[in-house]
């Protein structure tokens, strides 16, 4: 997943995960990287190519978002077996 959505509050991050997964989108909660997610500790990884449909769906469900970013963290390369919970 090469996209990241940042939020103002964890409520919206978790709400976004529920809403997106319910409609079959790939989504995973991760610790928000400080430079992209300054407002809230939790962010959501997703497929950047799906950004238009994803942001439309979130807006329709009144899930407020802070920003949409391309996100290819170097930590993806660290220890192939390490995965964040979610």
């Amino acid at each position: 997943m090469d996209g990241l959505i940042s939020f103002f509050a964890s409520h919206y991050a978790l709400r976004a995960e529920t809403v997106l997964k319910r409609d079959g989108f790939a989504a995973r909660l991760v610790p928000g990287p400080r430079d992209l997610s300054p407002n809230c500790g939790v962010a959501l990884r997703f497929e950047y190519a799906q950004r238009e449909r994803v942001t439309e769906l979130l807006a329709a469900r009144r899930v407020q978002i802070d920003g949409v970013h391309v996100y290819r963290p170097r930590t993806d390369e660290w220890g192939a077996r390490t995965r964040m919970g979610g």
């Binding site: 103002f8 509050a9 909660l29 610790p31 407002n39 939790v42 962010a43 009144r62 964040m84």
Partner: protein, 394 residues
């Protein structure tokens, strides 16, 4: 002696399967601080909180879960609403059967310059709608009523009251302490603007949980400010829901238990709970009619009543009756004023109060029969001069 628990209007007992496990699972497996960090234990805790929020939004038919904010209990939620909305010079309308969780904040706000109009209810708790309409005026900020009197069980017509409030430009706040989980509530269809609820009564969760629904577009100033896990670079309170009203770490274990309670209600159906409690009220009313000296207060028709009955036995104090019910019969009742002196003034039962039974989903017709038999015994003892009463008061 088996315990017959008729104090569900104070707090429900027992809790359904799953509630204890939910608390225990949180402590064992998901012990992080919700919304503060990105690690899995924090996300796990946040998931529990947000699941509870979604379930409650669904239960009250609020389409946006962020409009539900969590509090410690209904009193806390009512304080958030009343102190967050009312300013000196504002006018608020309420009823004479309110619990002190509404009355005390309003009487305090009155000393700060808020004008309070209390509409008198009838002896059985019925609220005359015409009097509410007269009390509301252009510029009235808020109408606040209970959904059901915690003393008499009398139900308020919240749909009609919401319409009256809207017509005069006022907001409508409902205290659903007695009804959330026991009577279906649809905030969208009824037009209620704010709804305060507690988690530990008919929602079947643990104590220390409750919340407030706030309609989209209604701006309530926070009464507490502090850490929320959001906007952390700023020293001012975030303005968005739900964080604006949720400073400090939430009762995650309690909310996990509350979610389990609400899940149980979805399985059973709140309408089934309402029907069940109404049957018990009808059974009690019919069977108690010929008990000597028993006066039943509240509405004459159970369709205007929640699962609460309030009564007195002539010749005995309510506290004596409750004590004997507990010690001799294992029946748990609540005696006295039930934190609602104004409601008792309305019903003519101040200052002695009443004996109150609050029925719940886990009560049975056999338990009501047992209580009726016990009250007959007590009425007979009173008639004989009540030596037995003195004996058990050791």
């Amino acid at each position: 002696m088996p315990v017959i628990y008729f104090d569900n209007a104070a707090t429900s007992w027992p809790k359904p399967p799953g509630v204890r496990e939910a608390l225990s699972d949180y402590l064992a497996d998901a012990g992080g601080n919700p919304g503060r960090s990105g690690h899995r234990l924090s996300i796990g805790a946040a998931r529990l909180v947000e699941r509870a929020r979604e379930l409650l939004a669904e239960l009250f038919n609020a389409d946006d879960p962020s409009r539900i904010v969590f509090t410690l209990n209904a009193t806390h939620a009512l304080n958030v609403a009343l102190y967050g909305l009312l300013r000196p010079g504002d006018h608020v309308v309420t009823t004479s059967v309110e619990h002190n969780s509404v009355m005390r904040p309003l009487r305090h706000l009155e000393t700060l310059g808020v004008e309070v109009t209390v509409v008198a209810c009838q002896l059985d708790g019925t609220l005359p709608l015409a009097d509410v309409q007269r009390a509301l005026r252009p510029g009235t900020r808020l109408l606040v009523t209970t959904h059901a009197s915690n003393v008499l069980g009398t139900l308020m017509p919240i749909r009609e009251l919401a319409a009256l409030a809207r017509a005069s430009g006022a907001l409508y706040l409902v205290d659903a302490s007695q009804t959330a989980g026991a009577i279906p509530i649809d905030v969208d269809e009824t037009g209620v603007d704010l709804l305060a609820f507690t988690g530990h009564k008919a929602l079947l969760g643990p104590t220390g949980t409750g919340g407030l629904y706030i309609r989209d577009g209604v701006d309530v100033a926070p009464i507490m400010r502090g850490g929320t896990g959001s906007d952390s670079a700023y020293e001012t309170q975030p303005a968005f829901q739900p964080d604006v009203h949720e400073s400090g770490t939430l009762n995650v274990a309690g909310l996990a238990g509350l979610a389990a309670g609400v899940r149980f209600l979805f399985d059973v159906g709140v309408d089934a709970v309402e029907t069940h409690e109404r049957r018990l009220v009808e059974q009690f009313r019919a069977a108690s009619a010929d008990i000597p000296g028993l006066t039943l207060h509240g509405p004459r028709e159970s369709r205007h009543q929640s699962g609460v009955v309030s009564f007195n036995l002539a010749g005995a104090m309510p506290s004596e009756v409750a004590q004997v019910l507990d010690e001799r019969f294992g029946i748990m009742a609540r005696a006295g004023l039930q934190c609602a002196p104004s409601a008792h003034r309305t019903a003519g039962t101040f200052p002695a109060g009443t004996v109150r039974f609050g029925f719940g989903w886990f009560n049975t017709a056999a338990e009501v029969d047992a209580a009726i038999a016990a009250l007959r015994d007590i009425a007979a003892w009173i008639e004989r001069g009540a030596p037995a009463l003195e004996n058990v008061q050791s």
